[in-house]
């Protein structure tokens, strides 16, 4: 069974290699990208790849491909994919929208994952003694940096993906251990299924029991109710200046109906008779 799969992968790689040989112009870089993904994917899954094919790739082609990959765009697409996953979880039950959100999510995750496979292939190629030129190395460093910068938001974004956890676990389990941490879009919070309750309803207590991250998230989520507290001194300044958000102002006005101290504060801040202006004018006249 495993041998059949390896043979199928080999056949796929060989077919992509032929496509690359035939391709001309910009489509050559597309074909190279697909081949790199096909060569890197087995490596990430802990299987051998066609090292000879990797080593024989034209360095100029590889450098051209690297120069064309927009790491920031791929990272931005991944962020949108995570947000689309959240929208899908929240909009569940709506007649339209969910399907679109899920398509967007899967496309963004897949694109980022494919790029990771291509990078794995390039790492392997370099270890085989086929180094990039200085220009190629600069392009590779820039691409890696763009991707890692975006990965800093991983912790924040991964919780939006918990609605897809069954398929994320499947993808995670295919990866060799050393590649799992980098593929956070499959691995991070992949076991936190109960966290999905944050986006779909009540009963947060059970979600909090899963792990420390879930407990933290639930604690923060519980603050999603209007704070039952009197306005601060700074807020009263903002209120008087007309800088308080309208919703907060409405809330304070409603709160003041049952809070004697805030009621007094609002009365004290209400536009007063022109007493001070008149005194000031008198003083100015005297000066």
């Amino acid at each position: 069974m495993r041998t059949d799969r390896v043979r199928a992968v080999d056949r796929g790689q060989a077919r992509l290699r032929r496509e690359l040989e035939r391709a001309r112009g910009a489509s050559r870089f597309t074909a190279l990208g697909r081949l790199l993904v096909a060569l890197g994917k087995p490596l990430r899954e802990g299987r051998p790849t066609d090292d000879a094919m990797l080593r024989d790739l034209d360095s100029l082609d590889v450098e051209g491909w690297l120069a064309r990959v927009d790491g920031r765009a791929v990272a931005a697409e991944l962020v949108l994919a995570c947000r689309a996953a959240l929208a899908s979880s929240i909009d569940e039950g709506r007649a339209n929208g969910v399907g679109t959100h899920l398509r967007e999510t899967r496309a963004g995750l897949s694109r980022r994952d494919r790029l990771e496979s291509a990078l794995a292939a390039l790492e392997r190629r370099e270890s085989l003694g086929a180094p990039l030129s200085d220009l190629g190395r600069v392009a590779l460093r820039r691409l890696s940096k763009d991707l890692r910068t975006a990965d800093r938001a991983a912790h924040s974004l991964a919780r939006f993906l918990v609605g897809l956890n069954p398929e994320r676990r499947e993808r995670r389990d295919r990866l060799a251990p050393r590649w799992r941490a980098r593929a956070w879009w499959w691995t991070l919070r992949a076991d936190c299924d109960s966290l999905a309750i944050l986006w779909s309803g009540e009963g947060l207590a059970s979600a909090a029991e899963h792990c420390a991250d879930c407990a933290h998230d639930v604690a923060v989520a519980l603050r999603a109710t209007p704070p039952r507290r009197c306005p601060t001194a700074d807020e009263l300044w903002d209120l008087e200046d007309g800088r308080l958000p309208a919703a907060r102002l409405r809330w304070i006005e409603a709160h003041a109906r049952s809070c004697e101290a805030c009621n007094g504060a609002l009365r004290a801040l209400a536009p007063a008779p022109k007493l001070h202006d008149e005194r000031r004018s008198r003083r100015a006249g005297q000066a």
Partner: protein
């Protein structure tokens, strides 16, 4: 020219100039406060009346609070601003007085025993510090909540409108919420549920950013 012959604006200009040269401005500030002190009583009185006039405020205490706050906020803000643009120095100072008086009266309602007195036993001071920390934490949580709600208003206006009615205006009745928004009761439930979920997501993101 003697300080007492300069009007407020001229004194302020002098303060600005001397501060730029690194000179002592205490005499000028003292002159301004001497002039403004007689105006404090009227402001304190009007705040007391707004609070029902039952609790007496010590004018001197409020004046000292206001001066401390003025110096604390820094003389750079001395001119102050209001919604209608730059405020006159006296008007700005009297606003500080008004807010200092409001703070004192609110604190008094909140803490019947004045725990700011210097001769408080240590445990009272600790209680005061703990109270201040709690207040700060509550203020931070409140700021995050309102930042999250502003994002909800920008990105999901129908959900924000429903949430505002239901939770901020304490309607807490889906039938009435639906009637006011012109939607079905089922839709009101859904909008509130979605609003809560989005708020949770925004709060988590904002907390991470902080």
């Amino acid at each position: 020219m003697p300080l007492r012959h300069l009007h407020d604006e001229a004194l302020l200009a002098r303060i600005d100039r001397k501060r730029a040269e690194g000179l002592d401005v205490r005499a000028e500030v003292g002159e301004l406060l001497r002039r403004w002190r007689p105006e404090v009583g009227a402001v304190v009185g009007s705040v007391q009346r707004a609070f029902g006039g039952r609790a007496a405020l010590d004018e001197d205490d409020v004046f000292h609070d206001a001066v401390a706050r003025l110096l604390d906020r820094g003389l750079d803000q001395f001119r102050g601003t209001s919604a209608s643009g730059p405020a006159a120095p006296l008007a700005y100072f009297l606003r500080i007085v008004k807010h200092a008086a409001i703070d004192r009266l609110r604190r008094r309602r909140e803490q019947p025993a004045d725990d700011t007195a210097c001769d408080d036993p240590p445990h009272e001071v600790e209680r005061g510090l703990a109270h201040a920390r709690r207040s700060q934490e509550q203020a931070d949580a409140g700021e995050l909540y309102w930042a999250a709600f502003r994002r909800l208003e920008a990105e999901h206006p129908p959900e924000a409108a429903a949430w505002d009615l239901y939770r901020h205006q304490d309607l807490e009745d889906h039938a009435e919420c639906a009637r006011r928004l012109g939607i079905s009761v089922a839709n009101s439930y859904k909008r509130i549920s979605r609003a809560q979920a989005w708020l949770r997501a925004y709060l988590l993101e904002l907390t991470d950013e902080n």
